[in-house]
Amino acid sequence: MAEPTVRVSGIVLSSLMFQHVNRDSDVEGLILGESRIEEQVTISDSQADHIHIEEVYNIQKHIACHKLNDFYDNVGDVNVDAVKKILAENKQENLIGWYRQRRNTDQQMTFREKVVHEKLKSALSNPHMIFVLLTPSKVTSPGSTHRMEYAAFISRSRCFMNVPVLVNNLGLLEQLAYWKVSAPFSAAGYNLTMKKHSAKFFSSNGQLRDVNEVNKMNESLQSELQKACGDVEESERLVETLQADVSALRRRLREKKQSSVGKASDSDDSPEQRNLLLHEAVRALFACSPLFHTQTLTLEAFPVPAVCCSVEPDEDESMADAQETLSLLCPSRTNCRKRPRETQPLRERKRTKSNS
């Protein structure tokens, strides 16, 4: 019985994940590599021979599709021309399967994936094809940790089975197997390849080019950040200065108000400021009305006209007008005598003061 296994190198798997991890939708593509079936015969004391068939799929490369549903339609019918177009200069015999990455879903093949897989097999006349499924998902709700799960599937008689994926160079190490220094590799072919391609990856000082580029980008980012910090500091200082100015202005205004209030309270003893225009108007209208100037009321609350006292100390009202008005108004009155003007003594005092 064949036991299928999928093998992939760490570089290919990580590049597959890396290429798509930032894509904003599901992605899919084709997988290139080789598949082989090995027959192992083991002879042991208990059995004469034991035939062990191993089906191995080696993933060596992947080609991403530019968009979803690129080589099949709504019902999963495969367009072989589209597949060839995606393959470009790669050979069709190296096509061993296809892959899909979908975020936040279960690690199970969907309805359409199963249909497409079966139709791809029949369209390319290759019964040995694999489907690789990658399902990244969030582990924690704030998104601080993400999980990238991967699995491979093959179909046998329209039944899909999960196949173990083994990543080359990764395996359980025993304690003794920890190496302190990397073992030297002296194969000529390896050295030749490294010489040919290392210039693309390593700079003249032996550092990885990408690392240098990333460091440069980091430095630019830091200088931009520092500039931004400087701008923020400058604006904060400006704000501080403005706030100090505003506080000083407020303080001055407060002091001014307090001093003006103090001056106003000093002049409380002086006679009230008189609105001369109002006085003139009132005088013009009511100068001859003894009722307007009286401070005396009858028991029935009628005003008792009195001799009008003019606002100007040197003007006197006529008594005759007052008398006439009185007779017209009310026959009963209690007092028609003018109340003594209380302001006279004060003015005299004032005169006294001014003289001195």
């Binding site: 904003d24 939708s25 975020r103």
Partner: protein, 393 residues
């Protein structure tokens, strides 16, 4: 997750499709509730501003089970049709060409997803039928019911997992019974707090083993129908007979339910006739009566200057069950402050009489009854007077 929350979180381009599913999505026989959506997630990166959810789990009631299917869209490609993961039914693989709404997927048609789900359910039904073939006995049950147009068109089957220990295979049949509920009086149907929905009666029959030695039937009624028939305890269906088969049992249950419904309908008409007859015989003494359900009436009668009330309560299964008479004094109170009353059940009555005959017989029979009641009231009166005199003394 409420429909509003789901609609709020889904990507705007996919919202119309989901809206018709959560608001109008009634699928299958058990269509009392709409389809439910949970586990709304996104296929976009976590940096994509929301709402951008484009994949969710859809809960579909089917044959007494709840199917949980994953439906996967892509928010960046809203024009593409969805993909599905059919939960635990990993072997369910419908033929895509037999899904017209998948072949001609129209993202602009809000009903497209719902129609596609219905087509998938039909395919799922066929898939379950194929699984039922593992048991010839259960297959026979299904085929015999299918031949009867009353039941075959409204049937869902679910073939359970084979028990790996016992090798037993179980299945459930869910049938919609063809009973007409349209003549049930409206007043019986309206007093339910739940959304009435469609009035439906579903019979679920579970076979715990393939040889039908353990069969458990259960009848499900809409809340309004259950209320109209007198509650969940009012209707008991017979047990599945040993060695029996569904083609004999289901019509039996159907007939039982139909009889019950007819009884309730006739009871309503009989009560109305009864009340009408009493109105014509005791019209001047009628205080009040139930003009909607015709379940009770109250009369004010007088005999030799003695006035009293007569309350007549008609039960749900009238005329099979006799109405209850309650004589009530308008003068006397009990110690607890209630009007003195006396229940009278023994009077001439026959369920075969019509309403007019019942009213006439009641009139003659009550003459004796209310004389006795009046005598009792007189006794009560004299006792009260004696006690009062004693207290005054």
């Amino acid at each position: 997750m409420s429909p509003e929350v789901a609609l709020h979180r889904i990507s705007p381009e996919l919202r119309p499709l989901l809206c018709s599913v959560v608001r109008n999505g009634r699928v299958g026989l058990d269509s009392t509730n709409c389809l439910r959506v949970t586990d709304l997630k996104t296929g976009c990166t976590s940096l994509t501003p929301g709402p951008c959810c484009d994949r969710f789990k859809l809960h579909i009631p089917y044959a007494g089970e709840t199917l949980k299917w994953d439906i996967i869209f892509n928010a960046r490609y809203p024009e593409l049709p969805p993909d599905f993961i059919f939960g635990e039914d990993v072997e369910f693989l419908p033929e895509p060409s037999e899904l017209p709404h998948l072949v001609q997927w129209d993202a602009g048609n809000p009903e497209c997803l719902l129609q596609l789900v219905k087509e998938l359910i039909q395919q799922y039904h066929h898939y379950q039928y194929q699984r039922l073939r593992e048991s010839s006995r259960l297959l026979f049950e299904y085929d015999s019911l299918l031949e009867d147009p009353n039941y075959g068109r409204n049937m869902e089957i679910y073939a359970g997992r084979k028990n790996s220990w016992t090798g037993e295979f179980s299945a459930r049949f869910l049938l919609k019974l063809p009973v007409d509920f349209s003549d049930i009086p409206v007043y019986l149907l309206k007093d339910t707090a739940l959304d009435p929905g469609e009035d439906v009666a579903l019979l679920s029959v579970s076979f715990e083993d393939a040889e039908a030695t353990q069969v458990f039937p259960k009848l499900y009624l809409s809340p309004s129908i259950e209320h109209a028939l007198g509650g969940s305890s009012a209707l008991h269906i017979p047990a599945f007979p040993s060695g029996g088969c569904l083609i004999d049992y289901v019509p039996q249950v159907c007939q039982l339910l139909t009889n019950k419904v007819q009884y309730v309908i006739q009871g309503y008409h009989k009560r109305r006739e009864y009340i009408a007859a009493f109105l014509s015989h005791f019209g001047t003494g009628m205080v009040e009566y139930d003009a909607e359900g015709f379940t009770k009436l109250t009369l004010l009668l007088m005999w030799k200057d003695f006035c009293f009330l007569v309350h007549v309560d008609l039960p749900l299964y009238f005329p099979r069950d006799q109405p209850t008479l309650t004589f009530q004094s308008v003068y006397h109170f009990t110690n607890s402050g209630q009007l003195y009353s006396q229940v009278q059940k023994s009077y001439p009555y026959s369920p075969r009489w019509d309403g007019n005959e019942m009213a006439k017989r009641a009139k003659y029979a009550w003459v004796t009854a209310w004389k006795v009641f009046a005598f009792c009231m007189a006794k009560v009166n004299s006792c009260c007077k004696y006690l009062k005199d004693q207290s005054d003394y």
